[in-house]
């Protein structure tokens, strides 16, 4: 399996990272090198092995279904690059 520049561009678009053609040219061999090295995992026989889902045995706690925190609009918006009327502002989504 080899990663070409088209694949790099596709993955970058899935990751929401703008990349130039030159970036894609540079990244393709780098990613190939890393993914080629990772390929060695395929030689491990894992037919009867469960994937790890939790590192340390620990049951997920549930909390009471109640509102615990709220009314923090100003704090939530404080670091927004742009906000208006108590909302986050983004470019127009619907034409």
């Amino acid at each position: 399996m080899s990663v070409d520049t088209a694949t790099v561009k596709k993955v970058a678009s899935l990751a929401r990272i703008a990349i130039s053609d030159a970036d894609a040219e540079r990244l393709a061999p780098e990613l190939n090198n890393i993914l080629g090295w990772i390929e060695q995992l395929s030689e491990v026989d894992t037919a009867n092995v469960e994937p790890t889902t939790a590192v340390i045995p620990n049951t997920l706690r549930l909390r009471e279904d109640v509102v615990t925190e709220g009314k923090q609009r100003d704090a939530v918006l404080q670091n927004a690059p742009q906000g208006e009327h108590g909302f986050f502002t983004v470019p127009k989504v619907v034409e």
Partner: protein, 494 residues
């Protein structure tokens, strides 16, 4: 007259308590050291006011005859991965430049509650991705160490907690927080001749810690002695209902129970850690460590961890996969940087913001993570890596039937020069070969300095323990520390 900046956490705490010096004197002395250490580039933000305020509180409490808090008046450095209320927190990235959290991470809050003060936010590899501190948006951290013989090449302080390790080794802070995902506390500790412990996954709350790979990230202390690490860890660890992976267990009295007597303990030496091309000096140090632990009363046994060689490739699937998901939140909407050219739409804004805001290594790992999680590759890469992770954890479980602790080198080499490995991501990743397996298994592990290589640079030994056995790890660390007598320190040039 003692220079208080030569003292460690325990000595500072005790000295303030008995009145050998005031907390204010301590804070002032360290603030001066911080301000004069700019050449190390270990700090992104300096916070003298925070340290001085904590010192004033400690001195006032002492004057009033109150019982002092466990870390009253002790100033420390805080890795820039911990959210600190009102103080810029960037994870050394451009995308979070200027971000001032409106909340405090649980770990940092616990330290402030214990009376500690903050000297500043420490530089690191961007989003904790790196092993050399060359990926920070705020520039490389320079190790205070230099090779002997007039070689002044700037050396890597290790990563990702390289600001922490450099500042501690240079006596600019007496201790600091670190975080460890695949070795980010232990490897920089080894490179700079200090100690650092990554506790069992779940011991320290991850709440308010900028997430890299959530199933691996764990905070821990870095300091110049094992005892100082125990003290800091006691004040960082503890159950936190805000972190669903936090362990609901009491915090043991690690400091009070510390003992370098290892009689009755079995120490395993994993044969798979004798990797090809390991420098003879590392081999020799490992043997020296074995002898020291025998001298402390331990019995040495050889053990096998057969899946060791697969740990690193598994890590470099799992960690980037989790990172690609965690870092999706940096999109220019809620905080941090926004890049938006005239006429661009929302998708353009996301892509432009992330392109401008992330460094090369972060982008590389997001792309790898996105690739291995994408349709068609998920099972071949991600599921397979998680299965291999199970086998790696089983290797350790099996080893615990033969021994109580494991001893290995911390890193396959001493510190390398900045720039030596930065052009080859894979060569850089291989630096974590000894620290990653225990991270995948969530185990407590520690690095302590063992000696110097022929260039005069520190080398570390790693102790790995059973889940929740931080005491055993710290005890073995102390046994090595007592015998290594490591007193070397970098000569001041900064």
């Amino acid at each position: 007259m003692t220079d208080v900046t030569d003292l460690g956490i325990a000595q500072l705490r005790d000295g303030i308590r008995i009145g050998s010096f005031s907390a204010r004197e301590v804070a002032d002395a360290f603030v001066v050291k911080v301000s004069r250490a700019k050449a190390l580039n270990a700090f992104i933000v300096e916070t003298p006011d925070h340290a001085i305020a904590a010192a004033k509180d400690a001195d006032a409490a002492r004057a009033a005859g109150e019982t002092l808090k466990p870390l009253a008046g002790v100033p420390i450095g805080m890795k820039d991965l911990f959210a600190t209320k009102g103080v810029q927190t960037t994870a050394a990235s451009h995308i979070l430049e200027g971000f001032k959290p409106v909340y405090e991470s649980t770990v940092s809050q616990r330290l402030w509650d214990a009376g500690a003060g903050m000297l500043g936010k420490l530089n690191m590899d961007q989003f904790a991705m790196g092993s050399s501190n060359e990926t920070s948006y705020f520039g490389n951290v320079i190790s205070p160490w230099r090779r002997g013989g007039g070689d002044n090449a700037p050396l890597a302080p290790g990563g990702s907690s390289g600001g922490s390790s450099a500042a501690i080794a240079a006596r600019v802070v007496p201790g600091a927080t670190g975080t460890d995902t695949g070795g980010s506390i232990r490897q920089p500790a080894a490179f700079t001749g200090i100690s650092g412990i990554k506790p069992t996954y779940g011991r320290c709350s991850r709440w308010g810690v900028v997430a890299f790979a959530s199933s691996l990230d764990q905070a821990g202390p870095m300091a110049r002695s094992v005892k100082d690490c125990a003290i800091l860890l006691e004040n960082m660890a503890g159950f936190d209902p805000k972190d669903s992976t936090s362990l609901e267990l009491p915090v043991p009295k690690w400091e009070a129970n510390l003992s370098g007597n290892l009689r009755g303990k079995k120490i395993g030496i994993p044969k798979e850690y004798r990797v090809d091309g390991m420098p003879a000096e590392i081999e020799a140090l490992w043997q020296q460590g074995i002898d020291w632990l025998k001298d402390a009363g331990a019995e040495i046994v050889e053990v096998s961890l057969p899946h060791t060689k697969y740990a690193l490739p598994a890590y470099y699937i799992i960690a980037p996969a989790e990172a690609s998901s965690n870092l999706a939140r940096y999109d220019g909407v809620r905080y941090g940087l926004r890049e938006l050219a005239e006429g661009q739409n929302l998708q353009d804004m996301y892509a432009a913001t992330r392109a401008a805001g992330f460094g090369d290594e972060v982008k590389r790992r997001i792309l790898i993570g996105t690739y291995v999680l994408s349709a068609g590759f998920y099972d071949a890469y991600y599921t397979q890596a998680q299965k291999v992770r199970t086998l790696i954890a089983r290797d350790f479980e099996n080893a615990w039937t033969y021994c109580d602790l494991l001893l290995t080198p911390t890193a396959p080499s001493a510190a390398f020069a900045l720039g030596d490995k930065s052009a080859d991501p894979l060569a850089m990743y291989l630096n974590d070969v000894f620290t990653v397996p225990s991270s995948l298994a969530g185990l407590p592990a520690m690095s302590v300095p063992g000696g110097l290589d022929k260039g005069g640079l520190p080398l570390g030994l790693q102790i790995i323990g059973k889940p929740l056995d931080e005491q055993g790890v710290l005890d073995a660390g102390l046994a090595i520390e007592e015998r290594a007598g490591f007193t070397a320190r970098p000569e001041s040039w900064w």
